[in-house]
Amino acid sequence: MNAATKNIDSFLDREYSAGFVTDLESDSLPKGLSEATVRAISAKKHEPAFMLEWRLEAYRHWLTMTPPHWAQVGFPAIDFQDIVYYAAPKQKKDGPRSLDEVDPELLRTYEKLGVPLHERARLAGVVAVDAVFDSVSVGTTFQKQLAEKGIIFCSFSEAVREHPDLVRQYLGSVVPPGDNFYAALNSAVFSDGSFVYIPKGVRCPMELSTYFRINAQDTGQFERTLIIADEGAHVSYLEGCTAPMRDENQLHAAVVELVALKDARIKYSTVQNWYPGDKDGKGGIYNFVTKRGDCRGDRSHISWTQVETGSAITWKYPSVVLRGDDSVGEFYSVALTNNRQQADTGSKMTHMGRNTRSTIISKGISAGHGSNTFRGLVKVTPKAENARNYTQCDSLLIGEQCAAHTFPTIEAGNPSARVEHEATTSRIGEDQLFYAMQRGLSAEDAVSMIVSGFCKEVFKELPMEFAVEAQNLLGVSLEGSIG
């Protein structure tokens, strides 16, 4: 092994800093999944009847389905009876009414993760946070200030109780309960998540964010996020995720639905740092997520940006259905797989309206024994006149044992469609490393710089706060302080 490789290895060999466990009594359901489990979850959340019905329907549908096997990932079959479907930190009452009532131990946990929930602890008006701990939301900040503008930002459970009409109208309208195996499972057992509604013509004055934390053992997290931007509304939403280090694999099967009406704009950013498992691939989160946005109105705009560094296995394809004329869909992604991590990720852009445009920029970085797959579908339906797509997917390999795959699919059903696809694969070259080191940079700084340069097009799409976090996650120092 030469010096440069050794340096790369030590650079990649960093600790997972969010791997601690919070010692809390939790109120959990026993392991296993049945109709009774679904009813118990619904009852715990005091849901209206329509919600229970919806769940049960999804559950019955799920029973008829089989897990998908087409992804370029390998793992032993999941025993769905060996999972706890509901775990919540124990509380005296139904749940804290305000942040002051949240268990201080929980607040400390979020503080340790760098997400202080006290509003006064944050810069005034920068980011509002919904904190989801295992199966429940433990607190949402800045609700009052947002409510003044008519913005609803709350936990999903609260939305079901307080805004049942909105939930009923939009839930499942983008990702139907039977969409796929994991989406059906989520629809049956989802426990919490975030709900956002931005009224007509309102630009959300601050970033909204949800911080997901899995804490309890043997627990699956099944959250549901629904964001609706009414006509002319704008919103930027961020999510972050971490989990303790455990030897067992844990399942995270989320569903995110975005609805953008006429002239609305939604920007959704993710920094996913679930526990990736250890060096030999023991433990880690199975991150099987369905994310889809619906550009329902004309000139609407949905943009997904993701930085995926965690999880043992990632299986997700944030997508946009471009229904409205002149609507725009974007997907920017950085996925890093190291050690035994596997990622099969990409995007689907479905063009239905006229003059719709989409962009897919995917940057896959594979190191160690990591495997990174880009899977993309660009579909232009016959009525989509003048659809445009540009897809670029680049893979960067670090070391000799890793793998990168690319599976792009293009279905052009209208002759006016213009679809471009570019792909590159490169290795962090000894040449590049030597060049940078010959100028006095350490190997570590050189790797950081090269990786950061590779990801630049995606990082620049992230909100400032997240860009910093994302770069730190990749172990790279912030570029662009000059020039």
């Binding site: 590049q432 060049y435 940078a436 097009e457 570029e479 302080s481």
Partner: protein
């Protein structure tokens, strides 16, 4: 400043340098000429610390210290600079960022205060003017999409900014038109200083019309077969390299010290 004694280097078991010796003092400019495949670039890369070569024997002392045991970045910080024959592209990393990181890595090592963005920009812009580079090259990715001449100017720019003690220029003249060649030579000549040594590797005598060396060495089959003054370069230009292959071994002994 630099003492190379009986250096033997191979790649994948194939010997490239076969007992090369060279002695360079501060303030001197040495030209190393030789046909393709004679080992010129290998010498440059071994001096700079590339680890894909196997050193089989010999010593290299720089400033009284064993150079071969030091990693590339340590050599660079200690003042060894290599102007690459084929400068490497680093997509997404702006030239300005790269240059500033390099300059400050070297300054830290020398106990100097790091340059802040303003000071750095002032400095780099004036040096760019001197090597005839437009400011836009600061904001473009390192060497990406640069023409051959632009890459070489960028190398000279880096050399100027990093203020090396020992600069090795590996065929910096290759692929340059005459105007670019003059600019590059001009940049190199401005660097000539009593406390600085330069090794100029070239295939053609042309560059040496503009950078007049103190000594010229001819490298063939991994060893220096002949050394002399600037007039040797002219002789090579006239007669080519073929006659040297038969030249007696003694000719190599005029190595400058």
């Amino acid at each position: 400043m630099l003492d190379i004694n009986d250096l033997r280097v191979s790649v994948d078991g194939k010997p490239i340098l076969n007992g090369l010796s060279l002695h360079v003092k501060a303030g001197e400019v040495h030209a190393i000429m030789g046909p393709n495949g004679s080992g010129k670039s290998t010498l440059a890369q071994v001096l700079a610390g590339r680890d894909s070569f196997q050193v089989d024997g010999g010593t290299v002392t720089y400033d009284g210290e064993d150079l071969l045991t030091q990693p590339a970045e340590v050599r660079a910080r200690a003042g060894v600079f290599l102007a690459f024959q084929y400068p490497v592209e680093i997509p997404g990393v702006s030239n300005a960022y790269f240059l500033k990181a390099a300059v400050n890595a070297v300054r830290r090592h020398r106990g100097l205060q790091e340059l802040d963005a303003m000071d750095f920009l002032k400095r780099v812009k004036s040096e760019m003017k001197a090597v005839g580079m437009k400011e836009e090259f600061l904001y473009r990715s390192v060497n990406e999409g640069f023409s051959g001449g632009e890459k070489k100017r960028n190398e000279v720019l880096q050399m100027t900014l990093l203020e090396p003690k020992l600069a090795v220029l590996d065929e910096t003249d290759s692929g340059l038109d005459i105007d670019a060649l003059k600019v590059v030579a001009d940049g190199v000549n401005r660097l000539r200083a009593p406390d600085r040594a330069l090794i100029v590797i070239t295939h053609y005598q042309r560059l040496l019309d503009y950078i007049v060396p103190d000594y010229v060495h001819v490298l063939a089959n991994g060893t220096i077969v002949r050394s002399g003054g600037p007039e040797l370069a002219a002789e090579l230009e006239e007669r080519g390299y073929a006659w040297l292959a038969k030249a007696p071994e003694e000719q190599a002994k005029g190595v400058t010290t």
